[in-house]
Symmetry: C2
Subunit: 534 residues, 2 copies
């Protein structure tokens, strides 16, 4: 999420989300913190979306709910199509979504908004040029300079060059592959490689890839048709995205090529290609379920070949490897991008980042969309093409870059951490709740309930003891008895010392139980004492 | 852990452990399930350890406690030294640990036991040849055919060839790198690469590697001495392993080279090399603490170079990447094995696995030590050197391979899952406890306590409500009041329906609270109702 402000008016570029890391226990989604924009919703002229990937549009429903609906939301045709479907699912209707064709200029307050066609791993990716009296800010979105894209329309280098000649004030550039020397392979190189692998397969073929990579899915379909195999799309997002793209005329298949997942078993193995979600080993994805022999329609077996036309996103290596190993265990073959050139990244490599810098000749460079390592490497690339270090700004979320006639500098540091989505609850990271969840998941929970008389503090019922998430408690009854003994001792001590304050009594119970459990089990669970006075 | 049995007598080769995966919430260690050996402890002639890595010796203390102490435990010199230190920590003394020099033959029941010197990423790695009247079983341990190892003693190919000429009945071979074509680089190629990288560093150097890789640590020390830099060993296992190796004469440093971690700041940056634990991004390791600016002795800063002389073990990518990115954020440089040839695997690649097969010419091949993918690829390699597929057995834990004059076949399937260590508790995976931990970590816990009269079931105290691990409960008091209302409604309904059985009442409370929480928060936490009768 990038906000560009001029004369007190704002255009927002992209509203993406992150998927939670392993430490964010139980959290469903991570959103950008847009609280600083909440009071300024009247100042927002437009939201512009570069492309339809979740890390660029996924937070939109939350943003619209929290800061209101802006006058207009622009994007490429497929982007708008995918976003409309997403907003429908969130029951957000009457949102002013509008396709802005590349090259057309729309005015919004002090801004001229123009989209520039780029290539990426989803059709209709765009860079955003925002021109004001102060100059042009160019936000690249995710891009590569694919010279032979599948749809035949390479990134619009002429328009980028024109913008560069007119003068780009600031370039906000994608840094994802700033660590990779050279040029990314073309998307259209993947098709022949897939066909080559397919032609060696004698049994059933299962290809997994990102559902939003329409051109990849198209190439799989073409290779299947070429070899006279039928195609089944498996996984909800695979079918949904193909339908959207197909309705927009961006994807197609010969009539009769498709079969439903239920029909797969009706065709000979050598006549079928399954295109499946799950390239990242996602827990509930179709491929993961196949690998665990738990898919209703596809039962993998020896002779099948599973082709990973994708690489693991950093952090997903373990789940991808586990999925692959399960498939080997079943006896099926696995082909990954390490075995054949069946994947191409959608993000430009170093030479492409340099080309972008040389085309646009920005006064200031603002590397974004990458971890600290890649921002730094992108900054190094900018320096290597002759941009002065003082004109390169590697920031972080929340740091505002102020550019005017006299130069550029980081100024305001707006509050911009993360927002967690947990079920239907949305809020700032709650360290206490996450710490409790960590404790609960590591060591479980012990609950003791003591019931005492409000007259004299004496026990009026046996203590209740419950523990959960404590493995190997084979002698659970014995442990429970011991814990009851601890509670009774604590209460007896408290009575002797005339402790009658409930909170103090609970503190004593907590400390004594925690100490006992640590001595006995070497664990530090969450201990929750409850004292009931009757 | 491999058990070789002949005439009812048993030799155990290695007793390793696994580190828990992310799904094994709160579990500390994973041991092999040796329950099938428990009743047979009198039949065990010896335990033989191939080398000192945790995945080969780590379960030894648990094995000794569970199945008793065998007549003798053999291993190479460093292996025995490291194991003795480990058993000391577990307060296991008087264990019959004995160095068995490579080439010497010891008799144990029907077995002749011989160790064959191999190269690996720890000194004193050995293959184990167990010869009985039935023939020789060769267990390779982890190995590579490094022709120029740092200690100058390559794997004993002559002895392997002799064993092959005499006839190897079964080869149990390491499969770790069965997917890598070619030959692994020599450990001694790492030293010059490290020196080359060091010589380009103008500030402080921090090298991280496995503490047990004594030859690697030695090469770092040599490079530091070469450039007139002092060396500090940081991290407990780094110091411990160096001391053991140094006492055995396997590692050394010029007098005065070492400085203590506390002295690091007393020396100019360009005069210091820190050798640190944490190459896998382990949470409490020295390097991870440095990356989080939380190490008592080393404060990383711009100008420092951190060198990863190790690659991430599969599954550790995320924590390693996170550590690297934190270091970039601090402004220090990072050099990994992707940037310079500063790491060499300790496991042989495909050509080495084939060489092992050709040297030993086994009647039967039993690929082990690898996931399903690598076992399968190792089997393919065996076939490629001319071994008949029917003589290659890829099994799994617990499956016994029975070999006799008439052939080989999988027979008994002994119970051999995993054993979890959780604090001081040891037991079989407890699905219930882990499921509870998963629930607790995802959605937290809700506890309600209802106190009712044993006379008529009426409430005698207000319900108590506690929830933990529930984020964003900003209106916690309101939520608590609502939950109390649910409890009171449930009790009122129960009273009306004359439900007096405590367990039924608890079930009602559970269901009503769970439903309320799901409707309100879309979460399914652990709900624990307690009914106290007074």
């Amino acid at each position: 999420m990038t906000a560009v402000e001029c004369e007190g008016r704002i255009v927002i570029v992209d509203t993406g989300l992150m998927f939670p890391t392993a430490e964010m226990l139980g959290i469903d989604l991570v959103l950008p913190d847009f609280s600083s924009l909440r009071e300024r919703s009247d100042d927002i002229e437009a939201i512009v979306l570069t492309h339809g990937h979740e890390d660029h549009v996924g937070a939109l429903p939350y943003v619209l709910r929290e800061i209101g609906i802006p006058p207009v939301i622009y994007g490429g045709l497929l982007t708008i199509g995918m976003v409309r479907s997403k907003l429908d699912e969130h029951k957000l209707r009457d949102v002013p979504l509008q396709e802005l064709p590349a090259g057309e200029v729309m005015r919004a307050g002090p801004f001229e908004i123009e989209l520039v066609h780029m290539a990426h791993s989803i059709p209709d990716a765009r860079a955003v040029a925002l021109t004001t009296d102060a100059g042009t800010v160019l936000v690249t979105g995710d891009y590569k300079f694919d010279q032979t894209p599948v749809d035949g329309i390479p990134a619009d280098v002429s328009r980028l060059a024109e913008l560069g000649r007119s003068g780009v004030l600031c370039l906000c550039g994608d840094s994802t592959n700033a660590d990779r020397p050279g040029v990314a392979p073309s998307e259209s190189s993947v098709g022949p490689a897939l066909l080559e692998v397919f032609s060696r397969c004698t049994g059933r073929i299962v290809v997994t890839s990102f559902a939003s990579n329409v051109h990849r899915v198209q190439q799989v379909i073409d290779a299947a048709a070429n070899l006279d195999r039928r195609v089944a799309l498996v996984g909800r997002s695979m079918r949904k995205n193909f339908n959207i793209a197909s309705n927009l005329g961006m994807a197609s298949a010969p009539g009769g090529l498709f079969i439903s997942p239920k029909e797969i078993e009706d065709f000979p193995d050598e006549k079928v290609v399954v295109i499946s979600t799950g390239s990242q080993g996602e827990p509930l994805s179709a491929l993961r379920r196949m690998a665990h022999r738990d898919h209703p329609d596809v039962e993998l077996h020896s002779g099948d070949t599973v082709i990973f036309s994708a690489t693991p996103i950093p952090g997903n290596e373990r789940s991808v490897n586990e999925t692959i190993d399960r498939i080997f265990q079943i006896g099926a073959q696995v082909v990954t991008a390490a075995d054949a050139p069946i994947h191409a990244s959608g993000h430009g490599w170093q030479e492409e980042l340099k080309l972008m810098l040389n085309l646009t000749k920005p006064d200031y460079v603002f590397p974004f969309h990458g971890d600290h390592k890649r921002l730094k490497l992108h900054a190094d690339l900018a320096e290597s093409v002759g941009i002065d270090r003082t004109r390169i700004f590697t920031g972080r979320n929340g740091l505002a870059l102020d550019v005017d006639g006299s130069g550029a500098r980081f100024t305001a540091d707006v509050h911009a951490s993360m927002i967690f989505v947990d079920g239907v609850s949305v809020g700032e990271p709650d360290e206490f709740a996450l710490r409790d969840r960590r404790k609960l998941s590591d060591d479980g929970v012990f609950i003791v309930v003591a019931t005492i008389s409000s007259d004299d503090g004496s026990q009026v019922a046996d203590p209740e003891v419950i523990f959960r998430g404590v493995p190997f408690a084979e002698d659970a009854d014995g442990l429970r008895d011991e814990l009851r003994g601890v509670v009774e001792d604590t209460l007896a001590d408290a009575a002797e010392e005339q402790v009658r304050e409930i909170s103090l009594l609970q503190q004593d119970l907590h400390d004594d139980i925690a100490e006992f459990v640590y001595e006995k089990l070497r664990r530090r669970p969450l201990v929750l004492p409850v004292v009931v006075e009757v």
